[in-house]
Amino acid sequence: MTLLANGTISRRLFLVSSAVAGGGLMLGVGIPDGARAAGDSEGAAVGAKVNNWIIIQPDNTIIVRIARSEMGQGSFTALPMLVCEELECDWSKVKGEYASATDNLDNSFGSMSTGGSRAIRDSQEMLRKAGASAREMLLAAAAQKWGVPRAELTAANSVITHIPTGRTMTYGEIAAAAAKLAPPTEVKLKDPSEWKLVGKAQARFDTADKVMAKPVYGIDVRVPGMLYATIAQCPVFGGKLERYDEAKIKMMPGVRQVVPMSDAVAVVGDSYWQARQALAALPITWDEGANAKLDDAAIQEMLRGGLAAADAAVAANEGDTKAALSKAAKVVEAEYSAPFLAHATMEPMNCTAHVMPDKVEVWAPSQNAQATLAEAAKAAGVDPKKVEVHITMLGGGFGRRGAFQDFVRQAVTIAKAVDKPVKLLWSREEDMHHDFYRPVSMAKFTAGLDASGMPIAWQTRVAGQSILAAVRPNEVKNGLDKNFLEGLAEIPYAFPNRFVDYAMRNTPVPVGFWRSVNNSQNAFYKESFLDEVAIAGGQDPYELRRKLLQDRPKQLAVLEAAAKQAGWGTPPPAGVFRGIAYHDSYGSLVCEVAEVSVSDRNYIKVHRIVCAVDPGYVVNPDTVVTQIEGAIVYGLTAALYDKITIKNGRVEQSNFDDYPMLRLRSMPKIEVVQVPSGGFWGGIGEVGLPPVAPAVCNAIFAATGKRIRSLPLKDHGFTAV
């Protein structure tokens, strides 16, 4: 299966470059010849649009519309698998194509937001029904054409067969007639036991292009007459642009224009490098505003105040925790914290925009085409119907490119000022200084143990910055941010008495959704502290979790699968120690075991991570493996190395030299055990991340007796090798 098998390229297939060795480049955005699908906007694929999601071409090529962005997580392959499972089509002739955000102004494609590990679980029913509905329309049209009852027909591999006579007809032959029929009011979906495509590993659509460097990422977009821009935003959060001296750079080569914004200034030039050199030379004075003195010490003090505050919003209150604590044989207490973190996508923020008198066109590596369209319309001051969004390939997303469309707003603002298409590209330093960071947080745990070492009371106070308070304040109810409490408010363990509350403490630092959101901190807190409780009660950390999950057979099965694969209870290799952590997120159940060794000079080696996961149903098993691997690397990188610190109201880190990344040398062996139990649809893109930090830190405790209660490990003197 290839993405561009027959050479016809619709504007919404992946943008593919036709760069040739030695130079010259053209975007593969040619509008195909011939009639476009009826009712579709300009540039859509040629063929019969059987329904919103499915276009069938006369040569039996099937184009499946995709509403969720491809950022490496495999949506462009897994989502068509769901459609085609029901469509009974020839998988080797299937291609993906982005749904248009303009066409989706009526919400006929549903949400285009690509985050929260939702691409499959939120759209699987709609997509399977679309496939089944199209199949029934094709069968009905064939029955009409042949004048036979529908019941005498069967469909497989894009071919309809009349069973009594053996006559056949392809989908391509009947698609135009089928497209004219009314869709069935009800369709019956296959039982999962009947799946032929879903659940079997399928090669990804995008790999062949990627090894040829063909896909066009946002940064690669080139449109005729385009200029290049780069931007400096006020380094202090909340600060404003006061003045700048354009005359100082006007004579520099390639400089076209300087575009001021309230909190930023952009230089537009004939090339990125020229614009960047000029911006570096531009004298800029910022009004740093109220946050110019903000630093980490003040933020930490504010959060500590949250931990100690008399008032907090109650998130869970089961049994009588206070009474249980007072009669506990042993009480264990600990405080945990986690820092701000940057997303650091490999492709820095960028967007290309062209503001024309009657139309705005935007090319963006965005996790949410709807949000991109809305932001572009607002920035340009036009009706959303006048905006066309092209989602490019994304060089990573991880939550940075969805809810926050700052790069789109800026690109459109600049393009409006210069009257030509403009590609805005941030430097890596700008990207690091102006992220929407994973929020800081702290937690205080108190557990009461009975004489046998079992926890009878579990009390948690968390304090920290709410993302929802900034981005969707109407979702904050009675001081509770459900994201902030992910994995804490609801917990699979059977604690007879449990109390959880939250003290919201917001800082001026912009915060956002970072892969697995608050699950990443909360799993570290909860699973590390549970390890402390196990040790304090004289119990094996795995055996304690088994007891606490006795009434949760699915969770227990995942815990046991990880322990079995890891060989928990058997001796690890000499010098190697194990840690275990369990955490449910995004509807999936996950347990990880880490194997770690620590040298006497505190060199730390993570040898192996075993991950057992139950996402309910698995669509593309190979993608499950790669997503778990990726999430583990993302979480392990942060646990080992990273924190964003604030001084004088600004971020201190700038690039990969002071915000390091895990590299190949330090990559542990990862073993993924898939134990899908059916009956629910869980996410997969983020769920491998939360357990990794606590599993590693619990292994470090096993190795050294040192309990890690804050991250990164670098701050505790550990050097990863």
Binding site: S17, A19, V20, A21, G22, G23, G24, L25, M71, G72, Q73, G74, A203, R204, D206, T207, A208, K210, V211, M212, A213, P215, Y217, I219, D220, R222, Y228, P253, S271, Y272, W273, T345, M346, E347, P348, M393, L394, G395, G396, F398, S427, R428, D622, T626, E629, G630, A631, I632, V633, Y634, N655, F656, D657, M661, R663, L664, R665, M667, K669, I670
Partner: protein, 149 residues
């Protein structure tokens, strides 16, 4: 005017000699396969071959490489059939794919120097950053490519 030998073709390029090679490739010549990641030779997304060796083009002034043979991903093979590309496809290495061009260029240079690299050789040579965490498959694909050359 600079005279650069890129992918086997000498050409005149209108760029300031101080411009990093990366931006001449991407913006002047439209060879956008080579990516920008950090600009300080940390991440390797911009890796190209200079006389057969892997270099980070973000930190090489274009004027300094006028007499050298430059190969980018667009010139690595005509049809994507370099052993490294074939191995990358077979193992399905890429996730987002952004860093993979630099990874493949670094791997191709390694294999030229050491046709059967050990894991230690790979650790030493492949210091590029991948944020999607594809390292396990990168190692696997390099070993596979070593069997295809």
């Amino acid at each position: 005017m600079l005279r650069l030998d890129i992918n086997g073709r000498e050409q005149e390029v209108d760029a300031d000699p101080d411009t990093p090679l990366l931006w001449v490739l991407r913006d002047t010549l439209g060879l956008t396969g080579t990516k920008y990641g950090c600009g300080i030779a940390q991440c390797g997304a911009c890796t190209v071959h200079l006389d057969g060796a892997a270099v980070r083009s973000c930190s090489v002034p274009a004027g300094a490489v006028a007499a050298r043979k430059i190969v980018t991903i667009e010139g690595l093979s005509a049809e994507g059939n370099h052993p490294v590309q074939k191995a990358w496809l077979e193992v399905e290495v890429p996730q987002c794919g952004y860093c993979q061009v630099g990874m493949m260029m670094a791997a191709a240079a390694l294999l030229k120097q050491k046709p059967k690299p050990s894991d230690g050789d790979i650790d030493d040579a492949i210091t590029n950053i991948c944020r999607c965490g594809t390292y396990t498959r990168i190692r696997e694909a390099i070993h596979l490519a070593a069997t295809k050359a």
